[in-house]
């Protein structure tokens, strides 16, 4: 990628869509596009409009009746402690999963990129495996581990003299518990991406640095990390989105509790829309807020693309 151009490796000439003069012309392109666009129109773009409409109404518990209330749902949210709590939970959740997840993944990837002769398939298999675990299964596995009666985590903590907390019934630890679970499930994916990024860095850079007498840490600090910045950026974007959308683990581990300690925005939307008598209008207003938050983050990160990331 960019790194190659840096050190003068010739890049392959690739046709670009705008200049490919001999491309097929004509309307048959629209036929190829039709299936994708029909699905996207009905199930992605039209629902945005519906959500907006719902968010401006109060919807009766049994779905049939709607009362137009304008911005009432929004103003009620902004004035409610519960809403700000869910925002806070979402942000803590992001802070808890994203940096740790990325740092751990890069550290493991650095270790994995050490060229060993045997068994590297085993290392990789063990470390990559969470990538195929679903959120539901992750929730079930960790529910066992955290269980106060039969769980292993507190038992093992006891070996080193720590009296383990009430993982799922203490406010702080419940959030930590869910964060650990989500970070774990995300780990395999993150390591794979980080490793791919590491291996795309040209070896000649390291060799040159070695000749100059740079220590291992200096090489990591001055070559690896800058060269890895596009990968780190990608990981940040993906992990922020994933952390803001965490649902399955919460549903299975804590059901948003204790209190509302693990109710993030997504969970709150779900609860308002599908638990008990439903408040679809309020739920839609929250969904909109969530969407705006995600879009702001994505946008800021893409703005960062050009500036901070060592990209060409």
């Amino acid at each position: 990628m960019a790194a190659r151009a840096d050190v003068g490796t010739p890049t392959v000439e690739v046709p670009r869509p705008g200049v490919l003069k001999r491309a097929f012309k004509g309307s048959s392109a629209y036929l190829y596009l039709a299936p994708t666009f029909i699905i996207l129109a009905i199930f992605v773009y039209f629902p945005i409009v519906s959500s907006l409409r719902l968010s401006l109404n109060r919807v009766a518990p049994f779905g049939s009746q709607e009362i137009f209330v304008g911005a009432e749902n929004y103003s009620r949210l902004l004035g409610s402690d519960e809403f700000w709590n869910t925002v806070k939970v979402s942000l803590w959740f992001m802070v808890g999963t994203v940096p740790v997840g990325i740092v751990v993944a890069v550290a493991i990837a650095l270790l994995l990129s050490y060229p060993v002769r045997r068994m590297s398939w085993l290392h990789r298999m063990l470390i990559f495996v969470p990538v195929v675990i679903s959120s539901a299964i992750a929730g079930v596995l960790f529910r066992l581990l955290y269980n106060p009666v039969v769980g292993f985590i507190n038992h093992w903590l006891g070996f080193i003299g720590i009296d383990g907390p009430n993982w799922l019934t203490d406010r702080t630890f419940a959030l930590v518990a869910v964060i650990i679970t989500v970070t774990w499930r995300q780990l395999g994916f993150n390591v794979i991406i980080a490793l791919a990024g590491l291996q795309s860095i040209d070896d000649t850079l390291y060799e040159a640095a070695k000749v100059d007498g740079a220590t291992a840490w200096q090489r990591i600090r001055h070559i690896t990390l800058p060269m890895l910045s596009p990968t780190l950026f990608f990981l940040a974007v993906i992990n922020v989105i994933i952390s803001l959308q965490a649902f399955g683990e919460i549903n299975i581990l804590t059901d948003g509790g204790p209190g509302q300690a693990t109710t993030n925005l997504v969970y709150s939307v779900f609860v308002d829309a599908f638990v008990g008598t439903s408040f679809r209008g309020l739920a839609s207003a929250q969904a909109f807020m969530l969407a705006i938050i995600i879009m702001i983050f994505s946008f800021l990160q893409f703005r960062g693309l050009g500036k901070k990331v060592h990209y060409q």
Binding site: A29, Y30, F37, V269, Y311
Partner: protein, 307 residues
Amino acid sequence: MTSVDEVATGADQASPPFEREADEVARPQRSARFRWGEIPVHVILIGIGLLVAAPIFIAFFMSFTPLKEIVSRPDPKLLPDTWVFENYRTAWNATPFGRYMLNSFVQTGLITAGQVLFSILAAYAFAMFDFRFKNALFAIVIGSLFVPFELIFIPNFITISDLGWANTYAGLAVPFLASAFGVFMLRQFFLTLPRDLFDAAKVDGASNWYYLWKVVVPLSKGGISAFTIFAFLGAWNQYLWPLIITNDESMRTAQIGIRFFLVNQERATDWGAIMAGAMIVMVPTLIVFLVAQKQLVKGIAMSGLKG
């Protein structure tokens, strides 16, 4: 939102090398000979690996532990004293996991097929055709990547309900048949194909349909299979949507089944049986992981390299 050209430029430069690099992630290179200095690296990596995989191993062992040992022993032990198959029988009898798995396979099959096929078609159009509004249309596709599912699942629930598709495979699959990510990724692939092939085909008078299936697709099978596995996992692991759109036991998916099995505990939770159920649900993806690890890792690695 990023314009088409920016996206295209950024990725175009990355295109040629990324497949090879992704390959290296999937299948590590080997250095020539064994060195004693490697041993600490092995120890650390195996340690990390065991820690990471521990929840799965624990679930595996627990699924063979008799309930009495799990509940009555004062301290949990990793390995059962007596290995029993009972938990699998309990799980299988208490909950129709067979049916759940079938439903998951059908849902996943439909979604994967739809995403792969429709993405190939759309990516081909974006890569090989000139037409009006091309950039705008591409931006619309990419823009959908930024629409969080939470914003649209309530209206989609209403739409699917109005269509009478609740509790049907159509309801489970149709909203997900298109993939903006697939379109983007496959388009990048198609753009890297050598141009002389295209010229030759043009001279032979090949139709664009023929060119797609006879030339473009066969040459892109690496990328297509990587995306296929990607789509498979995404679909198999779905949770929120099947949770709200199915209520008929015969239409629940495996992921929802395990949740209901967890709830279906009236007395002291039967953890052995629950872990047996979890193992049953995990097996297909673990098999995919073991069999197609290379393609899977490659697919993921490429998604990162393209960013």
